[in-house]
Amino acid sequence: MADNSNMQTGKKGTTRRDFLKNSGLTVGGVVLGGAIGSLFGGGSTATTQETAPAAPALTVNPSAALMFFTPDQYKLAAAAAERIYPKDDNGPGAMELNAAIYIDHQLAGAWGINSKEYMAGPFYKAEETQGSQIRILRKDLFVMGLAALNTYSNKNFDANFADLEAEQQDEVLTAFSEDKAPEISKVRSGIFFNLLRSLTIEGVYADPLYGGNKEMQGWAMRKYPGTRLSFAKEIQNSDFVQLDPESLTSHMGH
């Protein structure tokens, strides 16, 4: 029988081609057994007693789950991010690209608790030129900002933000971006808005390893080839050379 120990141990850096090579099997449209069948997403039922049980096929992205937001907060963050970077003729918007999953993961980690920032007091009111002087952690400011979006939406449109029409959502976000919404625990609404905006852009364009930029579609829209190891061949070309994007997973095993 096939030795499919690579499959079972989930050895890092093993590509499908390596696996097939190592397995000693040839592929020719023939159903090869449960493990490989499931790898190909085929509908094989030809599992025998001798074959080790297959690892369950992942039909969804396992990273698309929440580690920080409540489901309602997630829905709200996804709706707000979509207005920052909406679906259009170019392609998917922030919602479809999993930008809110990215935001969730970022806020859950070290960045959400400002771990590399100088957080010692005292906190004085700053001049415009002195940068942010906010004691509130990003994860807390973001959640309070989401709540403030709903409060503002209910006050002006009698509904939660996620349930508003796109134009109404834009009105709300415009008010926040221009500091016209009420302060959030003494922080200008524009500061929360900037956090939402920059997180959305990151969620659309960061390497997919962080949970957003689903299937590198964010990169594909702007013809960005991702994190390839060399552009020495393309860089002098006077014509635009469009390449398929590659993410950091392609650097594994080097």
């Binding site: 960045w111 100088y118 957080m119 030129t129 940068g131 942010s132 013809k223 635009f240």
Partner: protein, 573 residues
């Protein structure tokens, strides 16, 4: 209570370019060196996942942990300085390699004019040309004297470039060790346009190797792949010159370097005229050590060089009220606001590729290459087009008037993603009486030591320079023929989170006069002869060029001085 360790000949604080060069030169000469580095050790295997824009550029992976140490800043003495809590402007390095790991690799020499700026300005324009509030100084070394050290640095790093003749550029004893970098279509557009206007473009000198190279120390490195991950990133090919792949391995190989990482120096122990060693904390365990040494080399970043001296009571702190003292004096920066952004309709460039030192520049507006008689500023700016590679989070440039978010923003940022580039500039920064560094009276670092306080704003000189240079960038952009050209002519107030240049200089400046400088031309302290303060902290002003090669040249000179001092003692000049 600190554990006292056995005395060593030399202790070096910081293992970036300055500390790495000093350690390499001394250990090769058979001298034992203890290298103390607050961050971690690094080599190119650390960079295998470096093509990660989020982690390295936007989460500052290679940079100093601000939770432990930052600066405070204010625009003038009337303001209360506040801490730079997160990154926006300066990205101070950390770990073996220091800022030399994340730099772009642009390696221009300074001009002969830079080293004798006071004399040459007075000779050409008269003493009145220099404002009384501008403490402009000669460096105590001439271009001809520093040239051999430039040559040594360039050979060590394998600098790629082409020789510029005229325009006040200094003569070279040798051509660049490797040929210039590739010329891309946007560089060709700049080249043609500037030639049409009568200027003299040249490919800028690069620490990203244009070809495979073996340096005199026997270090071999591969050619640059134009992968676009230099600025903020480490190079997994070793194509980018980095202390961690050049001078530090050489020092390690001698067996004479005792490199201690996670070792944060908090004080230089001294009796006012002589250092006895340093005090440092193991940042992992919290243990404190005293390392006695014959010679203390302070080779950390500009900010920490100044702070360490002030926190140790070494040298005389600068006082802006009567302009006495020297530690903290002549803090300078650079002036980069003059630029013309260009957008092109229906034309896409391969801007996803690039390198940190891939670009083209004109020498016509730097130093004193043009007449300043009728101008209200000194020096000038390098005007250039560069191609670093447009990473997608950082490069969402849209024409003015486009909203910053939403449908229009998305459409425009995608439309122009591969269809914009600026003609930009990097201007010199002249010292000013009220631009200086001292200790913050309120904020402390993780070890209880006062933070460094920066008092800095752009001056009339800077605003005039930007106005003048921006017109040249506009003229070049028009000659290139973009569909939309947006020129910035204004220099606003210094903003600690918005400016984007880490070319900080000064604070422990060199010179020929102990009254107006802190170190001599070997970077030996006038007030403590066994202390050498190495780095861009020694620059009495900042030129229009990136500082690294000048910092590197001075480091080679300091290493020579330290060897002499170990034999002869006393002042080296």
């Amino acid at each position: 209570m600190a554990t006292k360790l056995p005395k060593v000949p030399v202790v070096v604080v910081g293992m970036g370019w300055a500390g790495g060069i000093v350690a390499s030169e001394l250990t090769k000469a058979g001298i034992s060196v203890v290298g103390l580095e607050r961050g971690k050790d690094r080599n190119s295997s650390d960079y295998m996942m470096a093509h990660d824009e989020l982690r390295y550029q936007h989460r500052e992976e290679l940079m100093q942990d601000l939770s432990k140490e930052t600066i405070t800043s204010r625009n003038n003495e009337k303001m209360r300085a506040l801490p730079m809590r997160d990154y926006g402007t300066f990205i101070v390095g950390d770990g073996v390699g220091g800022a030399g790991s994340h730099w772009n690799g642009q390696t221009y020499r300074f001009l002969p004019y830079d080293f004798e700026i006071k004399t040459m300005t007075e000779e050409r324009y008269g003493a009145d040309k220099i404002s009384p509030d501008m403490p402009l100084q000669n460096w105590g070394i001439t271009y001809d004297e520093i040239e051999p050290y430039y040559d040594t640095f360039e050979k060590m790093a394998g600098i790629s470039g082409e020789t510029v003749e005229g325009f006040g550029y200094g003569p070279r004893s040798n051509p660049y060790p490797t040929g210039p970098m590739l010329k891309t279509p946007i560089m060709e557009l700049f080249e043609t346009a500037t030639k049409n206007l009568g200027y003299s473009p040249y490919i800028l000198p690069s620490g990203n190797l244009s070809e495979a190279y073996e340096n005199p120390d026997g270090i071999s490195r591969a050619a640059c792949q134009y992968c676009a991950y230099c600025e903020n990133f480490g190079c997994e090919y070793g194509a980018k010159a980095d202390p961690a792949v050049t001078v530090i391995p050489v020092a390690k190989q001698t067996g004479n370097l005792d490199l201690r990482t996670h070792s944060n120096v908090t004080e230089i122990l001294n009796d006012g005229v002589k250092a006895t060693g340093v005090l440092y904390v193991d940042t992992i365990t919290g243990e404190e050590f005293e390392q006695p040494a014959e010679v203390v080399v302070v080779a950390s970043y500009v900010f920490n060089n100044v702070r360490l001296l002030l926190n140790s009571g070494l040298g005389r702190p600068y006082n802006s009220a009567d302009q006495t003292g020297s530690i903290g004096k002549n803090y300078c920066y650079q002036v980069s606001s003059a630029s013309s952004m260009m957008f092109f309709e229906g034309k896409e460039f391969n801007l996803y590729g690039g390198a940190g030192a891939l670009g083209i520049e004109i020498p016509d507006f730097v130093g004193d290459a043009f007449d300043h008689s009728e101008l209200n500023f000194l020096h000038g700016a390098g005007i250039r087009v560069t191609q670093y590679g447009n990473r997608p989070i950082a490069n969402n440039v849209v024409p003015a008037g486009t909203p910053a978010w939403g449908a229009e923003f998305k459409a425009a940022s995608i439309k122009y993603a591969n269809s914009f580039f600026p003609v930009k500039s990097q201007g010199a920064s002249m010292p000013h009486r009220y631009n200086y560094l001292d200790l913050d009276p309120e904020y402390k670092d993780a070890y209880g030591k006062p933070l460094l306080r920066m008092t800095f704003d752009y001056t009339e000189q800077d605003r005039e320079l930007v106005k003048y240079i921006s017109k040249v960038t506009h003229k070049i952009a028009e000659e290139i023929g973009a569909d939309i050209i947006q020129t910035n002519e204004e220099q606003g107030a210094f903003n600690v989170n918005k400016d984007t240049n880490t070319h900080n200089t000064g604070g422990v400046i060199m010179g020929a006069d102990p009254e107006t400088s802190a170190v001599n031309s070997y970077l030996q302290m006038w007030d403590a002869e066994n202390v050498f303060v190495v780095g861009a902290s020694a620059f009495p002003h900042n030129s229009a060029f990136n500082p690294t090669v000048t910092l590197g040249a001075l480091s080679y000179r300091a290493a020579e001085g330290i060897q002499r001092f170990l034999k002869e003692g006393g002042s080296l000049v």
